[in-house]
């Protein structure tokens, strides 16, 4: 009951913020409403008992990705007018509606398996034991470190090449 109310309040904010991202003419304001969207999705994760995922959402999306987007906007010469030509507007609406229809169709028709066991919480400690404990997922963790290393090196190489 409480979760239903929380979900619908959050869902209304999410849909509103997402529409604002698309509709707003000012790119900077669109970016800020994208931050709002990310933040509200963290609230959805909390209602799903995924507290670690909520923290990661705030840390990475609200903290880092939004910084990247805002810095990218600030690097541009004069992006505040937004996109001028609306040539792709109608194809974009069609593709967006198709995607929405596919997602709604999948959500409605799939027979979701429900688990009656109560969710584990807090999840962070359990995830830590699984990731770094003996017999856990240590090898994938170290491989993801290599992946991050590749991302850092790639970023440096790409940016320094001129």
């Amino acid at each position: 009951m409480v979760f239903d109310i929380a979900f619908f309040v959050l869902a209304v904010i999410i849909v509103g913020a997402a529409l604002a991202v698309v509709i707003l003419k000012d790119v900077f304001r669109a970016a800020l409403s994208l931050v709002m969207l990310f933040f509200t999705i963290a609230g959805i994760y909390i209602t799903l008992h995924a507290d670690f995922l909520a923290v990661v959402q705030v840390l990475v999306y609200v903290g880092a990705i939004s910084i990247l987007i805002i810095v990218a906007i600030m690097l541009t010469h004069d992006a505040r007018q937004g996109s001028t030509s609306g040539k792709l507007r109608i194809p974009a609406i069609i593709v967006g509606l198709l995607l929405l229809g596919m997602l709604v169709f999948t959500v409605v028709t799939t027979k979701w398996q429900l688990n009656n066991t109560p969710p584990l919480e807090p999840t962070t400690a359990a995830i830590g034991m699984k990731l770094f404990g003996e017999g856990g997922f240590l090898l994938p963790v170290e491989i993801s470190a290599i992946l991050l290393l590749a991302a850092v090196l790639g970023a440096i190489v790409l940016i320094r090449e001129k």
């Binding site: 409480v2 880092a64 990218a72 690097l75 004069d78 919480e121 830590g128 770094f132 404990g133 993801s144």
Partner: protein, 151 residues
């Protein structure tokens, strides 16, 4: 959402709701994030209240409405800008932003490790050191290539 959590928390504290009203494990999360909800509600109410006070006062005629250019001008915050206020930032900032994102992803792994530092013991510590050494290669590379220097 915040006000619901707050109401739920309130009812629970005063014995109107009991944990049986929720599915198992539901309430601890609500109680924990209830405090966040209380803070959010307080912040929103505070903002609305502060905006409403001058509006009501001016509607009641307590505050005079005499606007003139000097009164509405920006003061104490430097000179008024001439031309566009939009400045194109240096391209080099983007490298720092990207390195920051990579470092931020590192904290995802640091956080669950730090939460049960004692439980993981030496094994987890060595695992984390190995993780760090792999990532450190990238930062040593950035340092050696002079990517972190301002030219």
């Amino acid at each position: 959402m915040p006000s619901d959590i707050f109401a739920c928390f309130f009812f629970f504290r005063h014995g109107i709701l009991s944990p049986q009203h929720f599915e198992p494990g539901a309430f601890t999360v609500l109680a924990d994030y209830g405090y966040v909800g209380i803070l959010l509600v307080a912040a929103i109410l505070f903002t609305i209240l502060l905006l409403l006070i001058p509006l009501t006062l001016s509607l009641l005629g307590v505050v005079p409405r005499k606007s003139n250019p000097v009164k509405t001008s920006t003061y104490e915050c430097g000179l008024e800008t001439i031309g566009k206020t939009w400045v194109q930032f240096n391209f080099r900032y983007y490298l720092f932003a990207i390195l920051f994102v990579a470092l931020d992803v590192l904290t995802i792994f640091l956080y669950p490790w730090a939460v049960n530092l004692r439980g993981l013991g030496l094994f987890g510590f060595i695992a984390m050191v190995a993780f760090f050494i792999i990532l450190l290669v990238g930062y040593v590379y950035a340092w050696r290539k002079g990517a972190l220097e301002w030219k």
